[in-house]
């Protein structure tokens, strides 16, 4: 069902934009590319479709899928329905790392250096958040979110400071940080796709363990799950995926929080299906959101759009869910 919606949205969004391309032309262009057929296509249509629109659409889908998967994983291993890359401060840390690499002109490892710096930034902020929230003693939902927001604020101030001190033009950074798929390119898409694949494989493979960990640490141990190993690996993988997303398209908040909730509502919380469906639904939602932001004449940054829609949704979940278990820890 979701797959059908997704492919439909995929073709629909391919056609939309400043240059309208009909579905017939789209199939013809793909035909030429894949099967070597010989339809006559104008250069503009071909260029727009293959070099601008397709990368952007794939990027949006991959980022939506990845952030939703990160959200599902964070929520399971931290036993916290409010966790995602954004609320935990991981996205903020990643943005700081990426900005640092950009401002200091660190490109030793070509395209990987930004992702790598973003990863270190994300790990650093996650470590601070978990430490401040008292990871060992209890995993109180509120503590975790509050420290996540504080750490994210500190990092965003640090980014502003970097921008201020940088000698070069930083308007690009500022726009990128608001979340945007304008700069989508095939290199980023490849990195994203591979990372997403690896993380999804682990999440699917370890779905039983994630289920058990999401209940209670003590009972997880007594059921024979290696909690420390799996939780640590899952946190690292989700942080890595967050970092790759942030380096490709900036901070896009709340999608990773909302999607797993909708999926749980639809099919329940078992992680084997939760992860797969979150990936599909996340791809679909962000693709639709990005297409809307694209076809408006004034081009809203996607991060702004998800923030405007996702923020209120977060408040809603906070209101109904947190009340239930704040009192119980």
């Amino acid at each position: 069902m979701l797959i059908i919606f997704l492919s439909f949205a995929f073709f629909w969004s391919l056609g939309l934009g400043d240059v309208h391309i009909s579905t017939k032309k789209i199939t013809e262009i793909f035909g030429n590319q894949i099967f070597g057929t010989n339809y006559h296509i104008s250069f503009t249509d071909r260029y727009v479709l293959l070099n601008i629109r397709l990368p952007r659409i794939l990027n949006a889908m991959l980022v939506g899928a990845s952030l939703s998967l990160c959200g599902a994983i964070f929520q399971a291993v931290l036993l916290n329905p409010l966790a995602d890359s954004y609320t935990l401060g991981a996205a903020g840390g990643a943005a700081f790392g990426a900005t640092l690499a950009f401002v200091l002109n660190i490109f030793y490892l070509s395209v990987f250096s930004i992702s790598l710096f973003a990863f270190f930034g994300a790990i650093l902020s996650l470590a601070i958040v978990l430490y401040v929230a008292g990871f060992k003693s209890n995993l109180s939902s509120i503590n975790l979110i509050i420290s996540g927001i504080i750490v994210a604020t500190i990092f965003s101030s640090a980014i502003a400071l970097l921008d201020y001190m940088a000698s070069k033009d930083v308007s690009y950074i500022i726009f990128w940080l608001m979340g945007s798929f304008d700069a989508s390119n095939w290199q980023n898409i490849r990195i994203l796709a591979v990372t997403l694949g690896v993380v999804l494989f682990f999440a699917f493979f370890w779905a039983d363990e994630l289920d058990i960990i999401s209940l209670n640490e003590l009972s997880a141990q007594s059921l024979g799950v290696n909690v420390i190993k799996i939780r640590f690996t899952a946190l690292i993988l989700a942080t890595l995926l967050t970092a790759v997303c942030v380096s490709s398209s900036g901070i896009i908040g709340f999608i990773g929080l909302i999607v797993p909730h909708i999926v749980r509502f639809m099919i329940g919380p078992k992680n084997r299906w939760l992860t797969i469906y979150s990936v599909l639904l996340g791809a679909l939602l962000l693709l639709i959101a990005d297409t809307f932001s694209r076809i408006f004449s004034f081009q809203v940054p996607i991060g702004v759009l998800t923030g405007l829609i996702g923020g209120p949704f977060f408040l809603y979940i906070y209101k109904i869910k947190v009340k239930k278990f704040v009192s119980t820890g």
Partner: protein
């Protein structure tokens, strides 16, 4: 089943000192004691979740840490009290108990049988598809017990697992456990329930104060000494019969 030699455990202050204990097969033990006596710590040591600071714990004559985590989970299971944050169905929670036995991507026929049996013993058939977050605390507790039963281990450790349960379920579940030939070690806050067991282990000040078997009566002087209370005061308000 278990053999404990001089087991000690402490964080900053001692929690358990020089515990020597032999646990026999297919026997029901209960552990009672005042708050902070080390009851829960003792259970966690037996579950292999904590390592003793000194001394040894043997499970079936082998050191408990020579078993892998999964092997141990096929021998010992622990029921404590836990809060659940996600809206799993009762059946899903119980089936997680099969984790140490099941294949990664599927359940066997035996898995399904054990899950159904556990659900039946705990009287949960009518709640099978209910959302765990909507249950009462007693029902919730029965789900956790059922998950441990599905785990199908010869040893069952219960950390006040029967709190919030109606007497009807406590008796029927205990009955079923005994007929399944399990070794049960249960922490009770309520000494009345402990009287149902074969042996009562009295823990006080990090040590074993006394172990009595079920034929022995508990004298009020013993209880006064153990709980630091004056039972005559209790009897004035009709409590003594409950205690003994």
């Amino acid at each position: 089943m278990y053999q404990l030699d001089n087991v000690c455990f402490y964080y900053t202050k001692p929690i358990l000192k020089n515990i020597n204990l032999t646990i026999q097969k297919n026997t029901f033990y209960s552990i009672v004691g005042p708050n902070g006596a080390g009851k829960t710590t003792l259970l966690r040591l037996l579950a292999g979740l904590l390592k003793p600071k000194s001394g040894n714990i043997f499970l079936e004559k082998k050191p408990i840490f020579s078993y892998s985590k999964k092997q141990l989970a096929t021998k010992v299971s622990l029921v404590s009290q836990e809060h659940i944050h996600f809206d799993y169905r009762v059946y899903e929670i119980v089936s997680l108990g099969r984790y140490p036995h099941k294949k990664r991507f599927s359940f066997s026929k035996r898995d399904y049988e054990k899950i159904d049996e556990a659900i039946k013993i705990c009287g949960l058939e009518y709640l099978k598809n209910e959302n765990i977050l909507n249950l009462s605390s007693g029902e919730h507790q029965r789900v956790l017990i059922a998950r441990s039963l599905a785990q199908d281990t010869p040893i069952l450790l219960l950390d006040e697992a029967f709190s919030n349960l109606d007497l009807k379920y406590i008796l029927s579940i205990l009955d079923a456990l005994m007929s399944l030939n399990k070794t049960i070690i249960s922490v009770f806050h309520d000494i009345k329930l402990a009287r149902l067991s074969d042996y009562i282990i009295f823990l006080k000040n990090a040590q074993i104060f006394k172990i009595i078997d079920k034929r022995q009566t508990l004298s009020s002087s013993f209880l006064e000494q153990f709980y630091d209370i004056d039972t005559s005061k209790l009897s004035n308000i009709g409590f003594s019969s409950i205690l003994i």
